[in-house]
Subunit: 715 residues, 2 copies
Amino acid sequence: DESSIDSLDYEVIENYAYRKEQAQRGKLYVGYYVMVKWFFALLIGIGTGLAAVFINLSVENFAGWKFALTFAIIQKSYVAGFLVYVLINLVLVFSSVYIVTQFAPAAAGSGIPEIKGYLNGVDMPGILLFRTLIGKIFGSIGSVGGGLALGKEGPLVHTGACIASLLGQGGSSKYHLRSRWLQIFHSDRDRRDLVTCGCAAGVSAAFRAPVGGVLFALEEVTSWWKSQLMWRVFFTSAIVAVVVRTAMGWCKSGKCGHFGSGGFIIWDISDGQEDYSFEEFLPMAVIGVIGGLLGALFNQLTFYIAYWRRNYLHKNGNRVKIIEACLISLITSIISFGLPLLRNCSPCPEANSDSGIECPRPPGMYGNYVNFYCSKDKEYNDLATIFFNTQDDAIRNLFSAKTIHEYSAQSLLTFLVMFYSLAVVTFGTAVPAGQFVPGIMIGSTYGRLVGMFVVKVYKKLNIEEGTYALLGAASFLGGSMRMTVSLCVIMVEITNNLKLLPLIMLVLLISKAVGDAFNEGLYEEQARLRSIPLLESRPKYQMRKMTAKEASGKRVISFPRVVKVADVVSILRSNNHNGFPVIDHARNGETLVIGLMLRSHLLVLLQSKVDFQHSPLPCDPKGSRSIRHTISEFVKPASSKGLSIHDIRLSSDDLEMYIDLALFLNPSPYIVPEDMSLTKVYNLFRQLGLRHIFVVPRPSRVIGLITRKDLLIEE
Amino acid sequence: DESSIDSLDYEVIENYAYRKEQAQRGKLYVGYYVMVKWFFALLIGIGTGLAAVFINLSVENFAGWKFALTFAIIQKSYVAGFLVYVLINLVLVFSSVYIVTQFAPAAAGSGIPEIKGYLNGVDMPGILLFRTLIGKIFGSIGSVGGGLALGKEGPLVHTGACIASLLGQGGSSKYHLRSRWLQIFHSDRDRRDLVTCGCAAGVSAAFRAPVGGVLFALEEVTSWWKSQLMWRVFFTSAIVAVVVRTAMGWCKSGKCGHFGSGGFIIWDISDGQEDYSFEEFLPMAVIGVIGGLLGALFNQLTFYIAYWRRNYLHKNGNRVKIIEACLISLITSIISFGLPLLRNCSPCPEANSDSGIECPRPPGMYGNYVNFYCSKDKEYNDLATIFFNTQDDAIRNLFSAKTIHEYSAQSLLTFLVMFYSLAVVTFGTAVPAGQFVPGIMIGSTYGRLVGMFVVKVYKKLNIEEGTYALLGAASFLGGSMRMTVSLCVIMVEITNNLKLLPLIMLVLLISKAVGDAFNEGLYEEQARLRSIPLLESRPKYQMRKMTAKEASGKRVISFPRVVKVADVVSILRSNNHNGFPVIDHARNGETLVIGLMLRSHLLVLLQSKVDFQHSPLPCDPKGSRSIRHTISEFVKPASSKGLSIHDIRLSSDDLEMYIDLALFLNPSPYIVPEDMSLTKVYNLFRQLGLRHIFVVPRPSRVIGLITRKDLLIEE
Ligand SMILES: Nc1ncnc2c1ncn2[C@@H]1O[C@H](COP(=O)(O)OP(=O)(O)OP(=O)(O)O)[C@@H](O)[C@H]1O
Ligand SMILES: Nc1ncnc2c1ncn2[C@@H]1O[C@H](COP(=O)(O)OP(=O)(O)OP(=O)(O)O)[C@@H](O)[C@H]1O
Ligand SMILES: [Mg+2]
Ligand SMILES: [Mg+2]
């Protein structure tokens, strides 16, 4: 399984074909190229923005309509209402898991670990396909609309990345949506940059948090970062924000049903607490610690369960996956409907004209104080307010200010335990699933719980429970995903309360530190589970004591410059390596490493056959023979594994011929001397995004020395 | 001049001393090291926060007291008021320029280009000294308090960097403030990370914008970036925010005079415009274009003037610098006092109880509608409102909502032209000077001007002129400094209006694009002027066609492994190079490059003499002879150029002895084959932060191959 994962090539292969193309294309082409990049950034922004609007619109309408219907029916019969509620959820979840299992298996889960892997240099065919995109969009409508304990944010990131990748390869060839005109990005490097834009666009669209999106892409998903890229990512994010905003403005007058009722800021608490005092630092630290602990626990539990699912349960085929998802949907429906039933209603607080919050909530509206299975009119069910509600509304209610004492500690605790368990169990089912919103739900519940105690203890202060709910949400996300700056900005952008920024920062720092003491972040854990070989930015400690030679593969398989076709075939069959040194014999009998030949390029040569020659002598590179290939022939499709040696059919005549590799190899791969410490090799490999490094003997002489001054060339 | 600039060494020199130290110190030491780094991050945060509070407190009190006094006096006599005003400004500016010229020449200017150079790998002794820190703090109090057209933000970044660097080297040796206990950071790399924290702390303190600070450090000043560093920078920023907030809370009750009257958010416009419509995109684009043009013009003009100053005016000594600064102070005072005098007063608008803004401003208060040289009581002078005011208040007035028609187009234009000219002329004088606040002043003036027209044309919409002032400010900064994400976040954090985020993003994108069409960003221009050889992140276009060999220095000066002391001295005298290959002769007569010797290390060896030996034979590295040096002896002081060959005194006996360099060299510098394209070499050099790269012949064989799998070592 692991050997099937290949790496991406972020290096520019400077072979003759490339050099020729470079020579033909002047500065103008560079300008054109840059323009296309920006144009694509624009398209990614628009595409992801529209996809997000579509998903949100569908989810909010499905969910809104579901709750409206259920509420209408329970006026007459709770049993009928319950059945309808369960059924709708079941249908939605079933459609989601059906789409995913039958049509787009790569659309399951959040997709962020895979994208992270892709941007770290790991190639996993399938994650960026057109069908994955479709599966992701419709699957997440079903799973989120169906009321499972998961969110749509992760899937939106994946959606953005898919859109970006499809644009980058000029459409989907399988579905005949391909346009030659768009195919100008030939290297993994350019695709990587587009996918980075796509990730940012996804977060930007999901949370309507453009700066948060940029930072998320930079801090959490990408492994390489350039300031030019930052600017383009920023542009994409801004476009997404404008698109989503425009769509919401257009929907304002009720044209889109339930969509967009919450305003552009998802959970606006700008009218909440503005100030904090020193006494509050203690409960905040407590929240940070709880967040770290619960977050780390969440990572651990989901890791175990996902491990078990992967290795045992899901081995039994798609039917099991479907049954599992439906079962979880059933359980979720029963709990979210049943538990509020068992809870006694509380009397409404005295009407407060200041806050403008009605109790109980008028039918057909959103907000606090849900009347559910209450005997009297002026009562509300606090558990139903958060449990029997869409997630967005539940979070809004938990964050809400001026609703002190709305929830009882018992309800919050019940909800916390039940929802935490549901989130853990739901994670890893075969539906598109994000962990942001469930994390916010869990975090804000215990945050509000702590807030209740703070309000009780520090009576005199102007404290809002909602503030603590926000801090709790930040702490849980920090403890689980271990992001810092991006999470902080996202939290501020979704709540529109800048004044709490220093608090959010401190809580995040604490929860991340606590979480890091136990395990890795959620995405890293999940990447490990899926055996995505991520390279961290920091070299491991024991690398200091190892040398490059010790780490490298020992018996190097290499090619001579002019090689018999039969030999090529047999060598390529004998191993799975993707890169081979090419060794030339100089006239005086000495050998010389002249470059690196990629398996994929060799396969292209074998398939096209035009470069076969009868003579075993090298041809003159500058001679009459022109280069018969353009760069684009060598481009590996992003959506598949590309050619395999087993696809190649050669006649026995062909096998007797020769190829001169000199024209097609990468003449200058990066090299390191054999006794360089592995730390340094690691830095080279990781920071430059390489795929192969040659370990060579110490050189015999130094031809020249390059310092800063040599690189200060004026344009 | 240029040859005197050396580079920093971000590479770990893995010589024997280092390896021994590593072997002795286990994982525990790594933990200790990390802890100290965090502790230092904390100290940097506290230090910079306190410095910022001190500067702000002093500036606001000086300025506040100055205007209060002047206003008190002009009740009786305008002439006397004018004289007092001029005099106070003159004294403050004089003290600033005196401190800078006599005591801390490196404290002049904003310091950001220098810090940027430092973090790019350019060593400039003097910029991070203790005396620079002191000069910067007191100098900027004088220059900003003295009413010059400059800000205190750039200097605060420099202040933060100085604090960080001083901590990193364990204090200042010159002033006996050094503590051995703190001296555990021996490499330029660790110091670089601390300085990055310091920069973020500076911005965070200047604008009370913690996230903006982090992003500023990442986007604008650092050249390398790791996610671990991001987290530490984030922590520092959070600490700064808490420190500043605490200080402001403590000052709230008026204990600190005029300080902190504005609240934590400097220019809060959260009650301003919340929504925007499509029609507004056109004026916004116009503002973006104006910003790009004026910003690029600003860069160009300041470049020319600074060039002239540097090469002609300031060559004449300190007295000229002092006279120049005082003259500019005089002109500034005359213009800011005189122009409002010439302006007719306008009648106050009808009282609006909603906005709570009084007209005219009551004496001794801050706010809009300044009554200055008006004949009637119910009148105000719109030019004085922005010109005869502290910069913070002027900006607040320009940004203010609910004050439509406060300013006449004529006044805004007058102010724009005058202030722009003053800012251009003031830039480059020998006082600490930031360009953020002047940029905001200029930008918000033309922004408000555009806003006035918009309000006039689109009558029906709910448009605030203040919103356009904000966009104008963003556009000018974007057009001049060419930052994107960080500027955007800073603008949001200083105004607390998240809803305008997408607009700010678009305006910034436009103004940066327009500005980039003309010249480089302000800091890059200034770095070029000071001949700081910055390496951009992107390789130059023509590097694609060059090879490493073509770029490198041709005749390499190298050392044999065992070298005569006299030869060392003569070679070191004969050139200025800082790194030398060391070549060993194997027994079979072949040569072997065994490493890179740094000039600074050689000088340490020459000075200490303990490693001299009589025999010209190499000693056994694993033999009895122990290493007589600890790493710390090789550490170059951050604050000076270090040893020079001319400081070394050797007897003739010493000169006849030998040194075996094998123990002291860096055994594995990065190497590139001679025909690698310069683009790739550039990427290697730039991304890894190197100082020397060896260009070597093509290797004769490949010992091993390193791929991703070889680097996936579990801890
Ligand atoms: N040409 C080669 N000759 C000998 N060993 C090799 C060669 N290429 C790779 N190896 C070694 O084989 C092991 C597996 O590497 P693998 O074959 O998967 O590399 P690859 O397929 O070329 O690159 P990747 O899998 O990252 O795309 C590694 O330890 C590597 O050092
Ligand atoms: N040992 C050397 N032998 C020959 N040429 C060298 C040597 N070191 C540097 N050069 C060349 O001399 C020129 C000036 O480099 P310089 O001497 O300033 O490098 P340096 O001082 O070692 O590094 P830096 O100035 O970046 O600290 C460059 O073109 C470089 O290639
Ligand atoms: Mg492989
Ligand atoms: Mg030099």
